[in-house]
């Protein structure tokens, strides 16, 4: 296991050389917020941030992605026959991803890469990507990773973990992918002072997360009893069905498939979708099993906190990043909903 230290200047410098081996994504200050962007041209990453509004989910699972292409030109022999769209699976690295967002990829992997079907695009993008995490020295008030099996310095799901020591970064290799990444970087072997400083960051960060909401109590509850619980109308009362929660969520994976045609050439595309929208489940007949707002809100929470738990026996479908809590325009808080569910006999 490699542990290296860099001054912050050395770290930014070594990124320039890494560009020969990886397409780099990093947090770039963009107005008042940070956004994960490709570090091409003169874009400079800024690692002094709490978290981005959008997780780097789209690096592996683009918001819109071409699946197939086709020609509708009848004079062509293969008119109307779908062919795979060309893809770029060259290595890329996401720098500064928070441990919760890396954990989120592990959560959605169970959906995209399951024993029966493998999503070819998600799995190949994921395989091509090295996740270089940045531990959280100062978690936000809305963070609750420690309540869902994570931690501000959680390693599982990451290939490399960076510790911000103030004037230096300490980088720890976690997987083979991460070791291969660190081999290509500059930096010096970590000294004892750096290792001690990194270790000392952990507990204070953990202590800053004050939310306590046990998420391991729902697996023993009866699905239909939770489903029929009386509180869903109240939980959903203020919801605008804006879809912000699902759009920002690093563990939401639902997508729609649409065809787009220009002239005689077309693409089959998939786009992120949201269970908050009535069209999501509307049948051709006009019937809609989730026609009412409270049914859609219930679906989101039941999926994350109960259905996923039952299906995969591997915890909740939530990495505790807190984005849905932070950006919900009407302050619906998944932690409070989980408490309601926990308390429901």
């Amino acid at each position: 296991m490699t542990e290296k230290v860099f001054t912050k200047e050395e770290w930014l410098g070594t990124l320039e050389t890494l560009k020969e081996s990886y397409k780099l994504f990093g947090p770039v200050k963009d107005g008042d917020f940070h956004t994960f962007m490709p570090l091409d041209g003169n874009k400079k990453p800024d690692f002094d941030y709490e978290n981005t509004r959008l997780s780097p989910k789209s690096v592996i699972y683009p918001e819109s992605e071409r699946m197939f292409e086709y020609s509708l030109d009848e004079s062509e022999e293969d008119a109307h026959i779908l062919k795979e769209s060309p893809k770029d699976y060259s290595p890329c690295a996401v720098l500064g991803i928070r441990p919760c967002d890396a954990q989120a990829f592990q959560i959605v992997k169970r959906n995209f890469d399951n024993p029966e079907y493998q999503d070819p695009w998600w799995t190949q993008h994921f395989e091509a990507t090295t996740l270089v995490g940045l531990g959280c020295n100062t978690p936000c008030a809305s963070c609750f990773c420690t309540q869902v099996g994570g931690d501000p310095f959680h390693e599982a799901g990451l290939d490399v973990l960076l510790f911000d020591l103030g004037d230096r970064f300490l980088a720890k290799g976690i997987t083979d992918k991460g070791e291969a990444f660190l081999e290509k970087t500059a930096g010096n072997p970590a000294d004892d002072a750096a290792l001690a400083a990194a270790k000392a960051l952990k507990q204070p960060a953990r202590d800053k997360i004050t939310a306590t909401v046990p998420t391991d109590q729902l697996k023993d509850k009866v699905t239909n009893e939770l489903f029929d619980a009386p509180f869903w109308e109240e939980v959903a009362f203020a919801c605008l069905n804006c879809g912000t929660c699902t759009y920002l969520c690093p563990t939401c994976w639902c997508f729609d498939i649409q065809d787009e045609v220009q002239g005689n050439q077309g693409d089959r595309i998939r786009n992120w979708d949201s269970c908050m929208f009535p069209l999501f489940s509307l049948h051709g007949s006009g019937h809609n099993p989730r026609a009412d707002k409270f049914q859609r809100v219930r679906q989101r929470f039941m999926h994350k906190l109960k259905y996923y738990v039952d299906k995969y026996q591997n915890g909740v479908q939530c990495s505790g990043c807190g984005r849905c809590v932070r950006y919900c325009p009407v302050n619906i808080d998944i932690r409070n909903v989980c408490k309601l569910m926990n308390d429901f006999a």
């Binding site: 109307h80 779908l82 489903f227």
Partner: protein, 280 residues
Amino acid sequence: MGNPYLPYPVRIDRIVTETEDKNLKTFRFVFLNPEDEEKFAYTPGQFGELSIAGKGEIPIGIASSPTEKGFVAFTVNKVGLVTTHLHNMKEGDIMGLRGPLGNWYPWDEMEGKHVVIVGGGFAFTTLRSSIIYMLDPENRSKFADISVVYGARSPGMLLYKDELAAWEQRDDINMHITVDGTDDPDWKYNVGFVPTITEQKITSADNAVAIVCGPPIMIKFTQPVLEKLGFPPERIILSLEMRMKCGIGICGRCNIGDQYVCKDGPVFPLAQLKTMPGEY
């Protein structure tokens, strides 16, 4: 493993207009690459995604039987963008087919048992597949009595009329065709709703399995009839419809609780459905 989202190219081989309102047509597809037909090995009860370049995909139950070789057939109701386009296509046109998808009726469990098929409206498609499959000389001896209650709004809205007439003539299948109403003086079958006819014609649940496929209202009123006849919920088998996209349990929209109708269904025993949220 190949890309599970990539449809096999197929050619429309034959189109039959089934109903008097012309809203239901049966499409027979032939695979452009003969080896794809083997890859599309299916079991009655499964469905496929019909894919039209430029329009999209629709999940439709397979109406043909695996005992019918050389083609796959689907009966499609004209309701939306893709189905309307499909209804305007012609024999010889090229499109795509993805599958087979989902689970199937519990054929192993049904061996040696009486099979009661209850169908309504245009949901009769996978039931046609099942009847053809069971009546195949290779398979008929595996099942005891076969009874079918099939209803439509009017005689002109029945699917597969020629086959229904042929099955009526056979003595190894008990047909109970019915319509909600008709002013045809020559109508020689039943008049009445499916649950009522089921109650009149199906006399015993002993050693029997019921397969039910139809509109929600028919299912709602047939279920208590079957339970009254003595069918336990384990032996009432339902096939559900749901809005779908991927068909392989990944895109997330067709769930009922932790089950995806596309991958874990569309066939569910009533006993299982009772443990799932009633969100379908």
